[in-house]
Symmetry: C3
Subunit: 343 residues, 3 copies
């Protein structure tokens, strides 16, 4: 549904810098794709060049920005990306997922499963096994599997082809993207007479409330006890969480990162893309592991680390700079050798 510029400004809690109050905006798009009736936003200085030539009808800009492409209305907001998100919510209501309860006739729900058919949605091909429990308002995607005695809380959304193995616990309002695996066996063997003998992995995974798990991410069950993903933590795609890991609350674990067995990641930690945390290592609260960093020992909280093995960010940066200057250092040593050589 189209909005006028003034309605838009109110919706996103922004101020009109310029533009006609009754300009009609009927959609959203990126700076380089938007047309005369569409809204875009400038969230990153990097896109200023695109911004200056956009054909968008209106753009949400950071406060302080006053110039822009000719004829383009401007709305200033504290956080243009967040403000734009509010506009997105309005315009995409039509594509938003709606919850319609019901069990698809081609879903397979065991007789002993605990769920209220009038209050959950189970898609075609989903398999809900013996003793499994699905809370009200939850949706289990097509061809997903919820194992024996596993428990999925309220208002969860499991997409297609997700596997939740036996006895694992998923809290409320948890989102699991397609193909993710919850509760695979931890990786543990004892070498006995030249053969790796499997160490039983009889624990579970506990995923607390408001967690999100990315596509094809794998979270192993504990050897015994629980692998825990703390409340509000968001995990990206293709991440590996090994057995007995404890991840705190409100962490971010970005794509292709790996957390080895029994590691502790405290609250509000950010593990960036392709980073790794070694086994039995503790990462202190509010620290940041930069992309590709490898934590091989305990790290104090509140700092940023990078490199492999991970070191405080500035230390690692200095190290990299010195390596780039190595050719010069070699030249200086050569000059000294010449100077001090016997004539």
């Amino acid at each position: 549904m189209a909005l006028t510029l003034s309605e838009l400004a109110r919706l996103v809690d922004g101020d009109i810098v310029r533009g006609e109050l009754d300009l009609l905006v009927d959609g959203i798009a990126s700076l380089d794709e938007a047309g005369a009736s569409e809204l875009s936003f400038l969230g990153n200085e990097k896109y200023r060049a695109l911004y200056l030539v956009t054909r968008a009808g209106a753009v949400i800009v950071p406060r302080g920005v006053e110039e822009g492409p000719e004829g383009c209305a401007l709305i200033a907001a504290e956080n243009p990306s967040f403000a734009f998100g509010l506009a997105v919510k309005h315009f995409v209501a039509s594509v938003e997922r709606t919850f319609t309860p019901g069990i698809h006739p081609k879903a397979v729900v065991d007789d002993s499963a605990k769920l209220d058919p009038a209050k959950v949605r189970i898609h075609a091909g989903a398999v809900i096994m013996a003793g499994a429990e699905i809370g009200e308002g939850s949706e289990i995607g097509p061809n997903s599997v919820v194992g024996e005695n596993a428990k999925v809380g309220r208002d969860c959304l499991l997409y297609a082809n997700v596997s939740v193995r036996e006895r694992c616990l998923v809290g409320d309002r948890v989102i699991i993207q397609p193909g993710a695996v919850i509760g695979s066996d931890g990786y543990g063997y004892e070498l006995v007479e030249g053969r790796h003998v499997k160490v039983d992995q009889v624990g579970i995974v506990e995923i607390q409330n408001d967690v999100e798990v990315g596509a094809n991410t794998t979270i192993d069950r504990a050897r015994f006890g629980r692998t825990v993903i703390g409340e509000g933590t968001k995990i990206d795609n293709l991440v590996q969480i090994a057995h007995n890991v404890q991840i705190g609350k409100h962490c971010l674990v970005v794509s292709q990162a790996g957390i080895a067995g029994s590691a502790r990641v405290q609250n509000y930690v950010v593990v960036a893309a392709q980073a790794g945390v070694g086994g039995h290592v503790t990462i202190g609260a509010k620290s940041v592991l930069a992309g590709r960093a490898g934590a091989t020992a305990d790290l104090e909280g509140g700092q940023t680390y990078s490199g492999m093995p991970a070191r405080p960010f500035m230390e690692e940066q200095r190290s990299r700079a010195l390596i780039r200057q190595l050719p010069k250092l070699v030249e200086r040593v050569k000059a000294l050798e010449k100077k001090t050589a016997p004539e």
Copy 2:
């Protein structure tokens, strides 16, 4: 079906270097496994030792090679690997996938899905959701899911357990290996009062014609607009493509590489195994990111880059060489200190 050596030479557009014209060849195998009635090839100098002791009846070799194991027929070709591929095509016709249209009685096709049952093949357990469209000649593998209003073009091959989420677009002649996920939510949150609040990801993924997507690879939908995989691009297994990424035409993205949000990868780029491209970074056309390289800033086209952060290949190589020579440099400085010390 067996071929004579002369038929084989004609088939692969090669020249017989030695061997009886009517030698019968009835199969293909690697140099170390082939027997007296089988064809193999020498595609890489590394395998010369294996070649010299092969028991193959015939071997395709690069032009110029004239010696070989006793009693072994030789066919010279410009590109032995490519030539062998032609022979493979002949001998493996019996194991080649053939397209037989039909909807398996245990497939689940929504009444509103758009497809011609006489011209598509939908396997057991596949779920084609409301409004989804499957083009003629396309095959949807067992237990794969095509989401609401998603569109799969003509002559596509989706293997088992693939997930294509709602509204995503898959072009013509696209191959998707098992377990791949197309259209999972992009990874985006705003920190509001200590909690990560999900930023709606309402865009889609557009996969253009002749793309291949590897097993368990994940491609996130755009926040708004489209994540694009350009025509003819081939993506390997376990690759992560984040939201709003634009990959050009005819690129190669090798296993376990990751492309972060909003990155631009221009045409004919090679991103080698385990490499990474940072968010909002542009990789120029025809450049190569070596294995494990990490591109943290825009890179000009036409060059090869390696290291983390990625630098021009030769620069990075010199740097590595200097690091290997550090012990010597330390010795030289020690010697200078001795020499200049007051007696």
Copy 3:
């Protein structure tokens, strides 16, 4: 079922260091979670602090340890982790998977599949395609797919959403965690007139006896011939094994590692997390690639390697130490320059 301390000691082949012989133990838990009737263990010196304050009723400790928390019974064992595993087996019998043969009415088994319905277990939604063979005692998880003419041996356990493609061979007692893909196409193309043309991948994957494959791991079929995973090898989650790779017997390949095309990994090799092995490279028997190591050339057996490119561990360690000392080296050169400068 509860055990007395003396029964426990016998079960785990340990010696009672202290504690009442008839103390009753009825469960297992970690040091920080165990209560007065539960058994825990001290397997890693790192947990000594937790051990000293545990409230466990009994703890299995390494031989030689004699002090412990007040009132806590101690059992000494050669390998406390292994001993604890024996206790785990006893206490978790109730949660152990039991094999109950049968084909779920919602499984899809092709008429030409070879299996004995009285001796296999096929879960709901599993698809067993034409000509596929499932050995006695094997279990195929919900929504898993076994492709045309593929063969799964005896006493295997495939969890949910696994894909085994056509003609692949899986040995006996193989465990495949959820979402793993066996037999996806190898990644091979020829550049012809500016387009990447697919090279047919007509070989298979052969998984030998007693192998375990982790969740969402991908193993590509050979171009021709076989990609081989040797007997007793254990592969973790999200690992990539490319086409024509030959992995020896009793190897460990840890999470997110990648093995490129035609690489040879000999017996008893350990490839640690996030490591990589380049194409056509051979890794000698009993060698260890440390976490994140990248093998770009053949490596001799029996050694430990680290870094990228991978070098002998001690060499790499010295290199890292020298890099950390670079700031001092620069200072020393500066001092020399001062000293030798003309006054």
